[in-house]
């Protein structure tokens, strides 16, 4: 009778052990899952970063293009304006030189406005 009882208890104890194992496995699964979360997140982040880098590089490439275009456009415009300046100068310089020289000898002697003529 006692032997039967202890056998029964044994069986129950073994069942408990099995149960504990099952729960333990589940807990391990949980721990592993949390680790996985980290690694998978890192992977996704890496991919995102790569995609962003691509995007940025293409943006840079396009803007480098516009910069050199702007340079040539500005240079061309400047050339045109420079030529305008020189043409205008050549057209008007003689007149201006004449004007200058005329004024060099132009004299208008006046008494200072605060003074009065001294009575003769």
């Amino acid at each position: 009778m006692a032997a039967q009882q202890s056998q029964g208890i044994q069986t129950l104890l073994e069942a408990e052990k099995e149960a504990a194992k099952i729960v333990q496995q589940a807990r391990q699964y949980r721990v592993q899952k949390l680790k996985d979360a980290r690694t998978e997140a890192t992977k996704e982040i890496e991919e995102y970063k790569k995609a962003k880098e691509q995007e940025f590089k293409s943006f840079e490439a396009s803007h480098a293009g516009t910069t050199s275009n702007a340079q040539t456009a500005v240079d061309k415009e400047t050339e045109v304006k420079l030529q305008e300046i020189t043409d205008s100068y050549n057209k008007n310089k003689d007149a201006v030189v004449t004007k200058l020289l005329d004024r060099v000898v132009l004299v208008k002697p006046e008494l200072h406005r605060n003074l009065k003529k001294v009575g003769a």
Binding site: D36, K52, I85, L100, K108, P109, K117, V118
Partner: protein, 227 residues
Amino acid sequence: MASRALNDDEVLNEMNKMVAFIKQEALEKAREIRVKADEEFAIEKAKLVKQEQQAIDAQYDKKRKGAEVAQKIAQSTLTNKSRLKLLHRREEHLQDLFSTARNSVASLAQKEDKYVEFLQGEIVQAFLQMLEPSATIHSRKSDVEVVKKAAGEAAKQYKEISGRDIEFDVEGTLSDDSAGGVTLISGSRRITLDNTLDERLRLLEDRMLPEIRKDLFGANENRKFYT
């Protein structure tokens, strides 16, 4: 509850029922744990990813803004360089004009009558500027005679305009390299008045700059205020 002791079969039965029960409970608990674990996994992963994504976005936004600013700076530098080139070209032309004028000034002293008339006028102007009782007139050696005559007339004109008298004498001290005209020094030798053609031209170069600019290159389109 049983009122009699259980027989062997019934014991076994109960045993199995209990074992099954224990196992069932364990399985349910394990399932709960797994389900929760999956949920937490998803949440945690999403949180981490979102966090980092935000950081990365901010980073690239900054980079992009930096690139835009750099581009604006480059554009502005281009415009500035262009403007400087234009100004430089104008300045070159201006200097060219002035040196042409300077070279031609000497010819003004060639035309006899005009030169004498000019000398007289400018000596009167000098007298009126100085308002001194006496002065020494310095001229080119070659001009001394002409200047003496002109100065005599000038003194008369001076008396007429201002009612004052002035004594003068003429010295031929200016070099013949000078274009012409005279320099006056007051009797007490404290006041000097440079009225040579070179000096007059120089003053004009300076004073006439706005007018010259307009004549040579047209009015400034960007200018809004004129006194």
